[in-house]
Amino acid sequence: MDVLIAGITIFVLSIFVGFEIITKIPPTLHTPLMSGSNAISGITLVGAILSAGAQHTMFTATLGGIAVVFATINVVGGFMVTNRMLEMFKKKPSS
């Protein structure tokens, strides 16, 4: 039960932190915010790696492996495309 209570505590507090930070992000940066937060929601990759590596059965390893592929696309693609967009916003003032 302790683990559950700790988990719920973390969950609720993180939502508050999220609200505090994200309401301060200007509308102009909402698309990068979406793709960037999307990339970090690929954190499921951590769970996928554990399933793929623990190899309890052939089946769970396969599920984990497929999950690794999807989550990695999400992570790598998400961070790269966000970076691409943000560079476009950044270069302006100097030019």
Partner: protein, 468 residues
């Protein structure tokens, strides 16, 4: 590594994510913020690889390699106009990953019970989280695929409605709930989990299919939130704090964006998701509004107008993205700026197909960040504008939102371009926007219609302006 060190490492990764998101509050710090996020992710992955339960790395490495190549290709090849599709697709991938991970974890935990290693079956909290993860993850995946298909034009962008849709949805939702209970009660029965995923998949499709094109920003933001919640649920399955923290951050982020989008359309979330816009029964027909009152102009006349102007505001809409007019538009703006005209852009929160869509396109065309103005910032002084140029926008500048309480868009905040001295509207025809109602702005005394393709018209104005 011990669990303590691993968990402390995860905490550091979570801090990186939070600091990274904080960096996104300003364009100057945003690139660094994104890098922080990526570093946090790298750290989380490396720590996970040291887990003593991992006995083979082949599957992991191959998976990461394949995923990284696909992800990198998608990220570098995508056109900025197609950004909503890509984000929708990535949302879906996050969702399906959660489904698979929770499924694998469920199987593993029941296996441990069978062989007596764990003693007792999976804890109730774990099975509840597993069901939630499977349900939300599958809805996210299929919902995102439908959104992707709609944005890409593979399936009808219009709202797809059929009789009894609500009833079917309700039955599916109840079925999903019953299957969730079954997963919790009897975790060893794995087929109940996959059945739940199947029902949730149908639900995901049916919930997204009725949403029309211009409501897409809401759906994309909502699915973004779901993908976060699914990750958080997976965190509860694995008792993994970094998943819980990150998932709830993303869940909150998506929810805020959803709220902003709904507010910008003056509609409730339920109305966007389930109701189509009410029929415009009371309002005037297109003929009554437009007959004999619409003045059309040539690019040359518009160029003369710009030549005499001191302050200009440009209002872009989805039509600008469709005709790829952003670069010529930016060139026009910088040419005007060189002649001493003050040019600003007014961006409505729901313009385009995802939050901030217009801003990204204009940033790609080298429009300075400072000249992109939010609706609320520009409205108070829009009456000082000599010319307002509307390109590919319709409903977001329709004054009926202010004047006609019976209109389907009544109360929706709009950019008050009708208060500018002259309004120039670049549009292919007088056809209505997503709301399906005529726009009296087009027939106003101070409005000029420039009929034609957005990009071509802007280029024509540019050419005419060079001659003056």
């Amino acid at each position: 590594m011990t669990d303590v060190i691993i968990n402390l490492g995860y905490l550091v990764a979570a801090i990186f994510f939070i600091v990274g998101l904080k960096g996104l509050t300003h364009p100057r710090t945003a690139v660094r913020g994104n890098l922080f996020g990526a570093c946090g992710m790298l750290l989380a992955i490396v720590i996970t690889l040291t887990n003593h339960n991992i006995i083979g790395f082949e599957v992991i490495l191959i998976g990461i390699l394949v995923g990284a190549v696909i992800g990198a290709l998608l990220a570098t090849k995508i056109e900025m106009t197609s950004m909503p599709e890509l984000v929708a697709l990535f949302n879906g991938f996050g969702g399906i990953a959660s489904v698979l991970v929770a499924g694998a974890a469920l199987i593993e935990s029941t296996l441990r019970t069978h062989f007596g290693a764990g003693g007792h079956g999976p804890l109730m909290q774990v099975t509840v989280a597993t069901a939630a993860s499977g349900l939300i993850g599958a809805v996210t995946f299929w919902g995102s695929l439908v959104a992707f298909g709609k944005l890409k034009g593979l399936i009808s962008e219009n709202a797809v409605l059929f009789k009894g849709q609500q009833v079917v949805n309700a039955i599916l939702a109840l079925l999903a709930l019953a299957l969730s209970v079954s997963v919790v009660m009897d975790p060893a029965n794995i087929s109940a989990y996959w059945l739940l995923v199947l029902v949730a998949s149908l639900l995901g499709i049916l919930l997204t299919i009725p949403v029309g094109g211009a409501d897409m920003p809401v759906v994309v933001a909502l699915l973004n939130s779901y993908s976060g919640v699914a990750a958080a649920a997976t965190g509860f399955v694995l008792s993994n704090n970094v998943l819980i923290i990150t998932g709830s951050l993303v869940g909150a982020s998506g929810l805020i964006l959803t709220k902003i989008m709904c507010k910008a359309m003056n509609r409730s979330l339920t109305n966007v998701l389930f109701g189509v816009m009410g029929p415009a029964a009371e309002s005037a027909t297109a003929d009554e509004v437009y007959a004999g009152r619409v003045t059309s102009a040539s690019p040359e006349e518009v160029a003369l107008l710009f030549d005499a102007a001191r302050r200009v505001v440009i209002v872009p809409g989805y039509g600008m993205a469709v005709s790829q007019a952003q670069q010529p538009l930016a060139n026009l703006a910088s040419m005007l700026a060189e002649r001493g005209v003050e040019v600003e852009y007014a961006v409505h929160p729901v313009a385009g197909r995802m939050p901030g869509h217009m801003n990204v396109l204009l940033a790609e065309a080298d429009v300075p960040y400072e000249s992109l103005k939010d609706m609320d910032d520009i409205n108070p002084y829009i009456d000082q504008m000599d010319v307002a140029l509307i390109i590919g926008a319709n409903d977001v500048v329709n004054p009926l939102a202010r004047t006609d309480p019976s209109s389907p868009i009544a109360g929706m905040p709009i950019i008050d371009v009708d208060k500018a001295r002259t309004v120039v509207i670049i549009k292919r025809s007088l056809s209505p926007g997503f709301a399906g109602i005529p726009n009296p702005l087009f027939a106003a005394d101070n409005s000029l219609m420039l009929f034609g393709d957005g990009k071509k018209m802007v280029l024509d104005i540019l050419a005419a302006l060079k001659d003056t």
